[in-house]
């Protein structure tokens, strides 16, 4: 049951990315181009997603277990540190360079797009790099 649910959630999420326009880097960059010809669509993506999520998390905060009976874990960290800010800066810079963030890149790769495959391969190398830096400490 858990596996089925994870599969369906992944599917719905991917359909949402495709329908919303997030899988089109040109559209993403159009949103990030605040001082040029600006496409506000992505504000609607976030607005719709956060609105639905808000009610779900309000319910989730009151529960210790999920509706399928497993553990329900919400992040506990409230630390705002250098890692969070520098990491987000690097991510945002990469997002602005190509217009891909992780979800849309994976979906586009799965649809057979060569550019997305290159991006995802580099992203995986970046994640491996992170693990190596963490372990060398």
């Amino acid at each position: 049951m858990h596996r089925l649910s994870e599969f369906i959630v992944g599917l719905i999420f991917g359909l949402g990315l495709l329908l919303s326009g997030m899988t089109d880097p040109g559209k993403v960059l159009g949103f990030l181009d605040l001082f040029g010809l600006w496409d506000p669509s992505l504000a609607f993506v976030m607005g719709g997603a956060i609105l639905v999520g808000f009610f779900a998390f309000a319910v989730a905060k009151k529960r210790a277990s999920s509706f399928l009976g497993g553990a329900l874990s919400l992040p506990k960290s409230n630390v705002i540190d250098k890692r969070l800010v520098i990491g987000s800066l690097l991510f945002g810079a990469g997002w602005g360079l190509a217009g891909f963030c992780p979800g849309p890149a994976l979906v586009s790769m799965a649809s057979g797009q060569a550019q997305a495959l290159i991006f995802v391969a580099a992203m995986a190398v970046g994640m491996i790099g992170f693990e190596m830096i963490e372990r060398s400490k």
């Binding site: 991917g14 899988t23 639905v52």
Partner: protein, 145 residues
């Protein structure tokens, strides 16, 4: 600021956003997990015992989505993506996104959707930061260089 009306898709984007919210809602309520793509993927690098199958099940669903979308969506919603970045730019961007999302513990989904929806101050800072960086990079690339 000039609005790009020709590319503006409020209804498709709002509907897509609602699906993203629905997926995030189902994931926390049914599976008890935060739907964050960089975290789900990053947890596979390297794979850990008893913490891999659920990630693969999610990714299998995600990877099926473009094929099901192509089969179901009307032609008006099947616009070809515009990708201007060349190979070198894609590589640099991918490295930054991979490293940055792991360092900052999240991306647009984990911080931008789930984090803001659960009113996490940490995610608000992360989202404002990566948005600002994205705005700045596009401003530099399109208007200064």
């Amino acid at each position: 600021m000039t609005i790009d009306w020709s590319h503006f898709t409020p209804w498709a984007s709002l509907s897509g956003g609602i699906l993203l919210g629905l997926a995030s809602a189902l994931f926390i309520l049914l599976n008890g997990r935060i739907l964050g793509i960089s975290g789900i993927l990053g947890g596979l690098i390297p794979p850990k015992r008893h913490d891999t199958i659920w990630r693969l099940a999610f990714l299998a669903g995600l990877f099926s989505s473009p094929w099901i979308y192509k089969a179901l969506a009307p032609a008006s919603l099947l616009t070809a993506p515009r990708i201007d970045a060349g190979v070198l730019l894609l590589i640099v961007a991918g490295l930054l996104v991979g490293l940055g999302t792991r360092y900052g513990s999240g991306c647009t989904s984990g911080h931008g959707v789930c984090g803001l929806a659960r009113l996490s101050p940490r995610s608000l800072i992360a989202t404002l930061t990566f948005m600002a960086a994205g705005f700045a990079v596009v401003f530099i690339a399109r208007h200064l260089l």
